[in-house]
Subunit: 324 residues, 2 copies
């Protein structure tokens, strides 16, 4: 119920940037298709705003499918979006690693093939809270996905061909790791209670973006300790090492005051300085939320000259606007 | 305690844009002073992030004083900031209408005079929830203040002299009205309980940005009805009339999902269309918050060619970046 109303509000707020395709929950660039440009399509459940529709526009995504809250979007919307955004240079699907989304974009790929549209798929699985075990879907895609939207979007905007846009996206995925924590769960509309509950003074480390419980529950600790625990997991995973340059995103999950996100960023800065890792770009705010969950996630992207140039290039979307 | 940590995090996140003056809680442009430009100084209690430090940078503010949470900043910080940002063309103080802030900037004006810095003061009092009665401070300054930061900031950036920057700021104030509502109060750090309490399923219409109770409490109603009630107060106050062009800001108070802000924006759009009032620019997000309060405010600015040109001009601050 809330999703169509939200999309209608988004379209009214940003009529020059985005359109919602009639009869669907697909958000596309108002000026789609852009001839000769690789089209970027993403999507997933709603409840993560500004992701994903907020990143549709010049220099980022061409289309974003909005499912019901925390549910994968329907195939019909994917096909409608694809037909609208196809500029003749193929499409990159940016997929967060969830079973439903993987299935959706597999089917969408078949539909694209029938229409003669070349497709590459990039799967984002940046959440280090989830162990990779055989027989599971593996790591979830979380806020680091926004790095892919920005940088692969810039590569496409520059006119790079599909295989090159895919290569850049793959480099971003390889260099990105994330992890989150929560102080309160989120409540999915229509459900009676949250997916997990927290006692007064407890926090949950390693939460997902759909109200999934974390990997551990413990009493709330000072920001420095929480950040240190999360950063240990992230930094040791890639690993990020002394001399690396990184883009840091401190992402609010929905209900956390910006004041607290900056406190967290300060602790991340201290942690990285001790490791000899340099912060070259910073993002502090709400990029991929989980309705009204109180908490945050930290994402690191190991940058190089190519990635930074694309990160800095102009874009104009409802939620990210720079230099144009 | 949290405020110095926050400011340290902000400075680390945006070192090219802002500096925190050592020994103070004053945020200034990293490149201050800008010679020959009117300097804009604002400030107030913390807890409203991204206001005010998030709007310091090219095209907006030169300095922003951060008090303790919901407390007016000290005079020493104002003097330090003023000395740092004075570019020889005078200063405009942008003041939200609260007793403590008014007193602070009156004293700062005296200090400026002693230093030979010409000052004009603009007081923002956009909150239509508060009746104007004799013997009171009158209406509060709330989210509409951000319109003043942007537009007067652009006027100063363009090189206009102090009296002209003041005239533009005055026009913005005259044309701006705001009102808010809340579903949950905020909790000031260090206090045991919130300033007001709401029963399950209740909402508070006309809340302030410091956890002040609203003008009326009632059961939560559908978004369309809430918006209609708030918009009636706003639109009838100026009044905004058929044929007017307006900038609309739907401002989250801290814990409200962006999804809901867009639903609200959609209802604002319907309301204004029925009145024959055109939306020419839209802002949907968190601009002036109240810690983790769940709720939103709506602000309207009646625009004209001069105001729109300044609204659209480039700026580069932590929280608002366009075209540069």
């Amino acid at each position: 119920m809330a999703v169509p109303q939200m999309l209608s509000g988004m379209e009214k707020a940003h009529p020059k940037l985005i359109s919602v395709l009639p009869g669907t929950q697909a958000v596309v660039r108002a000026d789609a298709p852009v001839k000769g440009k690789v089209a970027l399509l993403t999507g997933g459940g709603s409840g993560h705003e500004p992701a994903h529709g907020g990143f549709v526009g010049k220099g980022m995504l061409d289309g974003a499918l909005a499912g019901a809250v925390f549910c994968s979007p329907p195939l019909d919307d994917a096909v409608a979006a694809l037909e609208r955004i196809d500029g003749g240079a193929g499409a990159l699907f940016v997929i967060k690693n969830y079973t439903g989304d993987i299935l959706l974009f597999d089917m969408a790929e078949e539909e694209a093939e029938e229409r003669g549209i070349p497709v590459r798929k990039i799967v984002v699985a940046d959440d280090v809270a989830v162990d990779v075990r055989e027989g599971t879907t593996g790591r979830r895609g979380v806020a680091g996905t926004v790095f892919v939207h920005k940088i692969a979007g810039a590569a496409a905007d520059k006119g790079l061909p599909l295989d090159e846009v895919f290569r850049v996206a793959q480099k971003v995925v390889s260099n990105t790791r994330s992890m989150g924590m929560a102080l309160t769960p989120c409540l999915v509309p229509g459900r009676d209670k949250p997916n997990f509950e927290l006692g007064e003074g407890d926090m949950e480390i390693g939460i997902g973006i759909h109200g999934e419980p974390g990997v551990r529950r413990e009493p709330v600790k000072p920001a420095a300790e929480i950040v240190s625990e999360i950063m240990d997991r992230i930094v040791n995973d890639l690993p990020y090492v002394s001399g690396d340059e990184v883009v840091v995103m401190v992402n609010g999950m929905g209900a956390t005051p910006l004041m607290e996100l900056y406190v967290v960023f300060g602790e991340v800065g201290k942690y990285l300085a001790e490791k000899g890792i340099s912060i070259v770009r910073s993002m502090v705010g709400e990029y991929m939320t989980s309705l009204e969950m109180a908490g945050f996630s930290i994402s690191l992207l190991k940058a190089d000259g190519e990635l930074l140039e694309l990160f800095d290039s102009p874009c104009h979307t409802p939620a990210w606007r720079q230099g144009c």
